[in-house]
């Protein structure tokens, strides 16, 4: 009996408590899917949030209708302030609902802001419990707000386009967590995908287009110092053992046309070696490719031609890697290839001495390539 009384009492209390505490109905939430960070003028940050609009109210009352085809209905709202929290405070005064950050999957940072440094600004997203560390970070050529305002014809919102592009892993894919690791890493260098607006097709509204990843931004100590194009970005991906998609087209000297190959498997090993004062890095690349197009008259089933093709492929990859190295190591002098980490792991004692002067030492590291390329499937068919 006593037990029943206690249960009854708890039941009543539960009824009274309902509706308290941190209950958040979805009707009272703005679900943010994308954030844009801009710098309208020095020392000020502008935060733009992209919110897919809940269509329930706008349907005109009759449920079932009001189905905006494509569903690309998003609401943009901006707030300004000296820091991100200040800007968000400003933003919240303009929004009738509470902001839910946990579904933020794209963070777009404007180039100008990135040039002044992103380390301090990103601290907010890392400290706040709601945003995910898995959200993708991009740097935009123009204003981030403009990127957020785009109305992509296919996807629900502009940020979704960016997420899908990043996931495809053709070029760089950097999550907030990766970025955090890069910023804290030994080399202090980071690389981020760079996005730009695709010019809209003719006859379309200026906003009816998407943003796309076309190059990569290079950051040194959290400050953007330059960009590299898509070809070199793939070179960087090779170095970082992150290459997933790559198509290589070669024109063997003796052949009368082009042969295209698609990457099946690519693995890179960085083998550091300290030789007195000279630091050496062996880049060991193993790759397996498939032939996807053969415009020559070569019969690839012949062992000789096959070997020639493999050699050609290795050369092509080495050329790309050399070009990348030239740009990154010699011109920009930024260690986004993560050589520093490799040296630290292999020679933790010696690294302590090198660490302070790494900026000067990095451009002098001697890089040796060891590329092993094989073509697995040449296909049965011959030249038509």
């Amino acid at each position: 009996m006593r037990c029943m009384k206690v249960i009854g009492l708890i039941g009543i209390i539960l009824f009274l408590l309902t509706g308290c505490w941190d209950r958040k109905e979805t009707n009272d939430l703005w679900i943010v899917t994308g954030v844009g960070l801009d710098q309208p003028k020095d020392g000020e940050v502008e935060v733009t949030v992209e919110i897919p609009s809940p269509s329930g109210n706008e349907g005109g009352g009759t449920g079932g209708e009001g189905n905006q085809a494509g569903g690309n209905e998003t609401i943009l709202q901006t707030g300004k302030g000296v820091s991100i929290p200040k800007a968000i405070e400003d933003l919240e005064t303009k929004l009738p609902r509470e902001i839910l950050w946990s579904h933020t999957e794209a963070i777009v940072i404007n180039k100008e802001l990135a040039e002044t440094g992103i380390r301090e600004e990103l601290d907010f997203f890392i400290r706040h419990p709601e945003p995910r560390l898995r959200s993708y970070v991009f740097i935009s050529e123009g204003s981030a707000k403009e990127i957020m305002a785009l109305l992509p014809p296919m996807e629900r919102s502009s940020s979704e386009v960016l997420i899908e592009l990043a996931k495809s892993e053709v070029l760089m894919k950097v999550t907030l967590f990766d970025l955090l690791e890069m910023l804290k890493g030994e080399s202090g260098a980071s690389i981020l995908p760079m996005i730009d607006k695709l010019p809209p097709e003719e006859g379309k509204q200026p906003l009816e287009t998407i943003a796309y990843i076309n190059r990569s931004a290079i950051l040194k100590q959290g400050r953007m110092i330059g960009t590299i194009n898509d070809r070199l970005t793939r070179g960087v991906l090779w170095f970082r053992n992150e290459i997933k998609e790559s198509t290589v087209t070669v024109k063997p000297e003796e052949a009368d046309g082009l042969i295209s190959m698609n990457l099946m498997k690519g693995r890179t090993n960085l083998i550091p070696k300290i030789d007195g004062n000279q630091l050496k890095m062996t880049v060991k690349v193993e790759t397996v490719d498939d032939v996807i197009q053969n415009k020559t008259k070569w019969d690839l089933k012949k062992m000789k031609k096959h070997k020639m093709l493999e050699k050609e492929l290795a050369q092509k990859i080495e050329m790309r890697l050399t070009d990348t190295l030239e740009m990154v190591q010699k011109e920009m002098e930024v260690d986004i290839l993560d050589f520093a980490e490799e040296f630290r792991r292999k020679h933790p004692d010696k690294w302590k001495g090198i660490k302070a002067d790494w900026k000067e030492i990095f451009p002098t590291v001697k890089v040796i390539f060891d590329i092993e390329a094989s073509v697995l499937r040449t296909g049965q068919g011959n030249v038509p």
Binding site: G11, L14, T18, R23, K24, H103
Partner: protein
């Protein structure tokens, strides 16, 4: 309060004792027929269904035939009792008792010596024959009353398996068991319970398989019952179960003879109550409530898969609405973005918090279910149409609930029907509501609290000394082969352990069919 209660109890016991004493000094029949009739007439005063028929045996001895209309086979009484007895005797002054032995062509004739025995026999439909000048009467085994034919049980349908079910008559039910277990070790103890109904209760078990102390305990508990009447086995269940305040059934209820027999063979005790097709099986465990007879008739793989499916849907029926409430009000980050956006869309026009929304729909559904059960068949179709509208799109269009809620309620409803035994589905249907409240108040933490409370409670339960959650808690490795999975029959070599000593092996080991076996003939 408790003092008053105790005092009343004492009074009760005294009264009880008196009744029992009366029974012991049962009043014997008189040698005089008229005197006997006088007593019986006064006992059955105003009972228009009791027939007194006086006649003369072989023109010599006055006799009286007494029976209750509709409970005895009148045709047989006519042809096998009255006709032969009323014929003229070949010789004069023959002893009527000898005559009865010679002429009465009835299989079952019992001698009765008291009025109580008289009443007992009459009330089960046996006609009574009283003779002038004889202190003993005869009870003729000619009872016959209307009963249902053996039909397929509607509550426990199977695709494959016997299609017979218990009926309301205890005699038929025992015969169904006896037809499956031919061994004389199948024992049946009969008890009468109920002050007025005097219902027959049979404790059925297999000697050597069931623990003797268990049988003793069960019959003790049944003998303790002293109420006006037993109308269904539910009365017995409620009066003998270990923990009355628990929502969980501690006795298995079945309508199927094959289920009853398989439980008997596992050393359990089957309690048959006259007047209901539902027999009780004790002791039982939580996991045995999830076994269906069909599990053993189909391939063991599909049986195992369906068991897993049942457990999955058990959790769905208990938790789905609560999870929905908790996630939509507290843990939005757990939902994939796209789904959250559509959920937010559909909830946009709903004025209530998710908890209220869920309560409205769940209560509506329970109401519809109840209505569907009780309604006469002719209006049943109307209810299902209205019900489909209420739970369906109409509720969404009216802006009362969101699309996703409808989906959740529908799935929960389906889930609670996948559980093979109705009585184990009930506690989960009920406990859903407190957990929903917890979810609406504390989110996922609340759900976990609720689950822990239920689990703790379940692990304290015992059914006639057997832990409710065994063989999981306490863990008994050997018995696990028939809980979450159903091992192939040639692996089920040991009986599940209930209590105390038990007969461990139920079949020869190593019976897996393989080519080198069965080649003895060659």
């Amino acid at each position: 309060m408790s003092q008053v209660f105790n005092r009343r109890k004492i009074k009760f016991n005294q009264k009880n004792k008196q009744q029992q004493d009366d029974k012991l000094n049962s009043n014997p029949l008189y040698p005089n027929l008229d005197q006997n009739l006088e007593v019986l007439h006064s006992l059955y005063k105003d009972c228009s269904d009791v027939v007194f028929r006086s006649f003369v045996i072989a023109d010599q001895t006055k006799a009286q035939l007494i029976y209750i209309k509709g409970m005895s086979n009148i045709e047989e009484v006519d042809s096998n009792v009255l006709t032969p007895l009323m014929q003229k005797a070949d010789q004069n002054s023959i002893n009527p008792k000898v005559l009865i032995e010679q002429r009465l062509s009835v299989a079952e004739v019992t001698r009765i010596e008291s009025f109580d025995a008289c009443i007992d026999q009459l009330s089960i439909g046996n006609p009574i024959l009283l003779l002038e000048g004889d202190q003993q009467g005869f009870a003729l085994g000619l009872s016959k009353w209307e009963k249902r034919a053996v039909e397929e049980p509607t509550g426990e349908l199977v695709v494959r398996g016997p299609r017979e079910g218990f009926i309301e008559s205890a005699e038929v039910n025992t015969s169904l068991l006896r037809r499956k277990i031919k061994s004389p070790q199948l024992k049946m103890k009969t008890l009468k319970v109920g002050r007025y109904t005097q219902t027959t209760i049979m404790i059925t078990y297999i000697e050597d398989l069931s623990d003797e102390t268990l049988i003793e305990e069960i019959s003790q508990r049944i003998k303790r019952i002293d109420i006006d009447g037993i109308l269904e086995s539910g009365y017995i269940e409620e009066l003998i179960q270990d923990n009355s305040y628990s929502p969980f059934p501690q006795v298995l209820v079945t309508e199927r003879p094959d289920t009853a027999v398989s439980n008997l063979l596992e050393g359990r005790v089957v309690i048959i109550v006259d007047g209901t097709p539902f027999v009780l099986v004790a002791p039982t465990t939580f996991y045995s409530l999830f076994q269906s007879g069909e599990d053993y008739y189909h391939h063991f793989m599909i049986a195992t898969a369906t068991r897993w499916l049942r457990f999955l849907f058990l959790f769905i029926s208990l938790l789905l609405p609560s999870l929905y409430i908790a996630i939509i009000t507290y843990h939005q980050e757990m939902v994939p973005t796209t789904l959250l956006l559509t959920m937010a869309d559909s909830r946009e026009a709903v004025p209530f918090p998710a908890l209220v929304e869920a309560l409205i729909m769940e209560i509506t559904f329970e109401g519809l279910r109840e209505a569907g059960l009780r309604l006469p068949k002719q209006v049943g179709a109307a209810v299902s149409i209205v019900g489909a509208l209420v739970i369906g799109q109409a509720a969404v269009d009216a802006g009362l609930v969101s699309d996703h809620m409808v989906m959740v309620v529908a799935l929960t409803g389906i889930a609670s029907f996948t559980i093979p035994r109705y009585n184990i589905a009930i506690p989960f249907r009920m406990l859903r509501f407190p957990i929903m409240l917890l979810a609406g108040t504390f989110g996922l933490v609340g759900i976990m609290m609720g689950l822990l409370a239920i689990l703790t409670h379940m692990s304290t339960l015992r059914s006639f000394g057997v832990p409710y959650l065994s063989p999981m808690a306490p863990m008994k490795g050997r018995d696990m082969k028939d809980t979450l999975m159903r091992a192939p029959l040639w692996k089920l070599n040991t009986r599940p352990h209930l209590t105390g000593e038990y007969n461990k092996y139920r079949q020869d080991s190593d019976q897996k069919p393989s080519p080198d076996k069965g080649s003895e003939g060659e």
